[in-house]
Subunit: 340 residues, 2 copies
DNA sequence: CTGAAAGCGCTTACAG
DNA sequence: CTGAAAGCGCTTACAG
């Protein structure tokens, strides 16, 4: 372990006080031109790097943000992380990652990250927190630095970023309707999930508006996963009166659905139109390429990080945006077709 | 911002010194039973949480590890992160994530993370670092705390974790051979990538061993992506003498390859057997389900984290394992079939 | 087993 | 514009 140089070393070389070195580095305008030169020369000579642990302790800031995922292994989140990280690193902040399960299993509380000076704020991508965990978050003195993205907690008042789930669902149903479909099924996300309810509700509403029949068995319970999509396909197959189109609450569901159908020699879109939600990267390469509702995950991440940073850097200001709802768009590919 | 209680507060309540509180918390065996009780009572009363910034400064440890990815948006890495995170959190360490591009674009040096007390070590999942960056890492005083996973740097001496790339490639070729294929093509990873070269080299060697013909145009340049897989399919289609089997260096390549073929009405595996490498989650659900070489990404992550933690916690010991090479296995599904 | 004291490396009011 | 000094909240040799 080689000793790295400290502010003291720089001060000694530049023949100024450590206060002046610190000022030069963090607020150059406030020192004289010649001092600035001497200090930056000394920094170069000594190879000085600021010690962030020391700065963090002194400034009472960790300069880190925690991103909490339901599941680290879920690829849905990668692009969102990219967006978050871009904004954070631009502000000199680091991105800490953890999964809800790991944090809670280890006996830690979510608020510990804020309380023990590990993170200045957190972005939660998991709307499935237990009510008592949510309550603790709400009552935490630091609750102003907690923000939800993608999912959110109904009834709680955290700022959040999400996509237009209702609008996207309407667009999906309308697309199928415009293709001539009148019997449309929905494969849902997991029970209790806020996105599942929002999309299902919007689905039912839109069918009502269009005066379409909706048999109870046309709402097929799923959970966003490939495997659930496969099971949903089984359910569809056994129906007496099969819907001619299926709107799945996620692309993974749609892919599983189509994959399973093909094992039973059903053709998509010839035998049934299928569409998803999210427009993940693979949707385009799937066979058939998947019609989907696109959400801009990079923008979700960037928006969430910007909103959180505002709250961290100016905690006492009023922040105009409390919930950012980002646009979605219909991407028509080959898994949906006219009813003929 | 509510004031959280400090060691001082706990000491006052427990009527002991801060030294004793600190000891009780970090090394309970060394204090008396009664002290232990008084302190833990005081901790409860005050709601004390350790301030990690202070501890980090005092102990000269950040209690964080940086994981460096080539690209945050690539889902290949998610399970590896899960594995790393499990081990780290068990040791009270946090996981910092950044992408090579972002770090270097921001003007920071990779070694800054180690030098400025942000991270105690780093796991690099990017074998494509520029030679000057590698040189800087090697010469850094902290180079003992740098470890590569999945990919590595040829010629550099960092500890690393990887899968059996050669063995996996041999297994893939043998599988196709056993099915009766004698004309086998290979779609490679990106030029310059260490996995690409390893797998290509192993492929050529194995074909040689089996006395199989290998025309130069049967090695098709790719880059691990879906899009490259599509292009490779185009290349395969235009061949006069088409190989009857194709070994792709990644599952994404294989999926792109198959997707594109299907647009030209070629059937897999009837017209050509195709297999991938990695066995990503989706491989099983693809149509047809993809034959692949499975690498255990969870174990890669866990092994990497364990090896790094050993080096962080016992920097002066000799560490027996310098390179961990983890087993792969053949997963036979429906994208490969007997030549008939 | 316990306490007094030093010190990790910064930043920042305060005074000049 | 600059410096002396205090202090962020811990841990740990040292002494008893």
């Amino acid at each position: 372990m080689v000793k790295t140089s400290t502010l003291q070393d720089v001060a000694r070389v530049a023949k100024v006080s450590t206060a002046t070195v610190s000022r030069t580095l963090s607020n150059p305008d406030v020192v004289s031109e010649s001092t600035r030169r001497r200090v930056s020369e000394a920094v170069k000579v000594t190879g000085y790097r600021i010690n962030r642990a020391a700065r963090n302790l002194r400034t009472q800031r960790s300069h880190s943000v925690l991103v909490l995922l339901p599941d680290l292994a879920n690829p849905f989140f990668s692009t969102i992380l990219e967006g978050i990280s871009r904004i954070l690193s631009r502000q000199g902040y680091s991105m800490l990652i953890a999964s809800t399960k790991q944090v809670l299993d280890s006996g830690d509380r979510l608020t510990d990250y804020l309380d023990d000076a590990r993170a200045d704020g957190m972005i939660i991508l998991d709307g499935g927190l237990d009510p008592d965990v949510v309550e603790m978050l709400e009552n935490a003195p630091q609750s102003k630095r907690v923000l939800f993205a993608c999912e959110w907690i109904d009834g709680a008042n955290f700022p959040s970023v999400r996509c237009q789930n209702r609008q996207g669902t309407r667009t999906a149903v309308d697309h199928l309707y415009d293709l001539g479909h009148r019997k449309i099924a929905h494969v849902t996300g997991p029970e209790g999930n806020v996105l599942m309810h929002t999309r299902k509700d919007a689905f039912v509403t839109e069918l009502g508006k269009l005066n379409l029949e909706l048999k109870p068995e046309w709402i097929i319970a799923g959970d966003f996963s490939l495997a659930a999509g496969c099971q949903a396909a089984q359910a569809w197959i056994t129906l007496d009166d099969r819907p001619t189109a299926v709107f799945c609450a996620s692309d993974q569901l749609a892919m599983g659905f189509i994959a399973e159908l093909s094992r039973y020699s059903f053709k998509v879109p010839n035998d049934v139109s299928v569409m998803g939600f999210d427009d993940i990267d693979l949707a385009e390469q799937f066979i058939p390429p998947l019609t989907s509702i696109r959400q801009d995950r990079l923008m979700i991440g960037e928006t969430a990080a910007k909103m959180l940073m505002e709250r961290i850097l100016a905690p006492n200001e009023e922040h105009s945006v409390h919930a950012a709802v980002l646009p979605v768009s219909l991407v028509v590919r080959e898994s949906t077709a006219s009813l003929n």
